[in-house]
């Protein structure tokens, strides 16, 4: 469904992504793991054009895009088919929870207000925040804010949702409630690409795990391939702590 070929991106002399090739099946959940600075967040941002790739081809459904010469129209069309969940939530602070979720429905989808309100309320209820719908983001905990962030993305019925380290700004107690919601999203069958450091979660939820380092995809495969039998030495080293802990449980 999504296919990236030959994606390259550099910031000045710093080559962040060197020739990335990645295929993501419709309805699958893909986790991208890797150390800091490996380019995983940049890759995710390139998919939503929050960052412009220098080179490469991108196929989204039957839409083919040359990343070097991408038009504004193509960017808008990709963004309207995808959702993005930010590390720091990035909710609109001047809007209530309900308005945050409604914004895309009303302004982008042009859905009548009453209908949009109903849809937004359902989504907010679905992430477990029905009683908080008239609160402002500053009145919510981090975990609640991130669940609103997820609701904002889900309400637009995107074909794919991109999660950029959705739990790394949260304190440990709040990670659980957010992961539960992400799991719920996965069960709906939306395609998901998740950049995360939550290894155990990635193992349980993913159909495919991608390990990146130094701007390249080092290894990809099923969670079992990556977590139990990693082939590459770099992957083994990165996962060593996690794998040992996991084996202890076995």
């Amino acid at each position: 469904m999504i296919e990236i070929t030959g994606l390259k991106k550099s910031f000045g002399d710093n080559k962040v992504l060197k020739n990335i090739n990645l295929k993501i099946e419709a309805g699958s959940v893909v986790s991208i793991l890797g150390p800091s600075g490996s380019g995983k967040t940049t890759l995710l941002r390139c998919i939503n054009f929050l960052e412009r790739a220098d080179e490469g081809n991108f196929q989204f459904g039957d839409q083919k895009i040359n990343l070097k010469h991408v038009s504004k129209k193509e960017i808008l069309s990709v963004r309207r088919k995808s959702g993005f969940v930010f590390q720091n939530y990035a909710l609109f602070p001047h809007m209530t929870v309900l308005q945050n979720v409604m914004e895309g429905l009303v302004t982008v989808r042009k859905i009548p207000k009453a209908e949009a309100c109903k849809k937004a309320e359902d989504t907010i209820k679905w992430v477990g925040l029905a009683d908080r719908k008239d609160y402002y983001p500053s009145q919510l905990s981090g975990g609640q804010q991130q669940r609103v962030g997820i609701a904002r993305a889900v309400a637009l019925n995107p074909e794919v949702i991109l999660f950029d380290e959705p739990t790394s700004a949260l304190d440990p107690e709040l990670v659980g409630e957010t992961l539960d919601v992400i799991k719920k999203v996965a069960q709906t069958g939306i395609t998901m690409i998740i950049v995360t450091h939550e290894m155990a979660f990635a193992e349980r939820i993913s159909d495919k795990v991608v390990f990146m380092d130094g701007g390249v995809v080092v290894e990809e495969g099923s969670p079992r391939d990556i977590f139990v039998n990693p082939k590459e030495e770099r992957t083994q080293k990165f996962l060593s702590r996690f794998i040992q802990k996991d084996m202890y449980y076995i």
Binding site: A90, F92, P93, H94, G104, A153
Partner: protein, 235 residues
């Protein structure tokens, strides 16, 4: 020289008659400066090629030009080149039929544009960059993101700065007296040439300026209070 209250009263009367001129100068300058300043701030905020650099340079250079100097330069240029300009634009009026206020407006607006645009640009810059990305990510266009997400969040930061600029604008309008426009200041000291009661004249002018500033400031503080309603949310 003793302070004569009857002279003060006479000066006050003179000053009050010219309040409409000062108000007109202030409000016309305010409206145009804030509109043009807003446009320049947006252009610079989005780093529009060429234009952004041009206005950046314009503001850097123009900020250093005192209003008084700008006024006399424009006035001289106007006097010297009016006929050529009139010919070019096919204006059939003679120089005496042209209201000198126009030169005053041009000098006041071009000077004020700089400070208003910098105030607005600063407020726009105070909004976190991820807010733009969040807007784009839900499919909003650039314009929709600006008007629905960025601008509402910068209003609470724009208002206090604009009030400050407005008071500056009011106080700046009296400089147009150097090109022969009579406003509150001119009206206040008009009787003084006969009575030599300059102290009374200046005090009368001060009182009237203070009154105008006070009224406009009060109105705009109300606006500020209204905009603070949603600043509370912007923690």
């Amino acid at each position: 020289m003793t302070f004569q209250f009857e002279n003060l009263a006479e000066s006050l009367q003179g000053a009050v008659t010219y309040i409409p001129i000062t108000l007109k100068l202030t409000l016309v300058t305010f409206v145009w400066s804030i509109l043009i300043g807003f446009l320049i701030a947006v252009i610079r905020n989005y780093k529009v090629p060429v234009l952004s650099k041009f206005f950046g340079a314009f503001i850097t250079i123009y900020m250093g030009l005192p209003l008084m100097v700008a006024l006399v330069i424009y006035h001289l240029l106007f006097l010297t080149y009016y006929e050529k300009i009139a010919l070019f634009f096919h204006i059939s009026k003679s120089i005496n039929e042209i209201n000198p206020l126009i030169v005053g407006y041009i000098a006041l607006i071009s000077t004020n544009v700089c400070s208003y645009s910098e105030t607005i640009r600063g407020a726009l810059m105070s909004v976190d960059h991820t807010q733009y990305e969040a807007g784009y990510s839900i499919g909003l266009t650039k314009a929709q993101t600006f008007f629905r997400i960025i601008l509402p969040q910068s209003v609470p930061a724009i208002v206090p700065g604009v009030i400050n600029n407005l008071v500056g604008t009011i106080k700046g309008t009296n400089l147009v007296s150097v090109i022969g426009i009579i406003e509150v200041m001119g009206g206040a000291i008009y009787p003084c040439s006969r009575t030599y009661s300059y102290l009374e004249g200046y005090i009368a002018a001060a009182l009237v300026y203070w009154l105008i500033s006070f009224i406009l400031e009060t109105i705009f503080r109300r606006v500020e209070a209204a905009s603070n309603r949603f600043r509370r949310q912007l923690v």
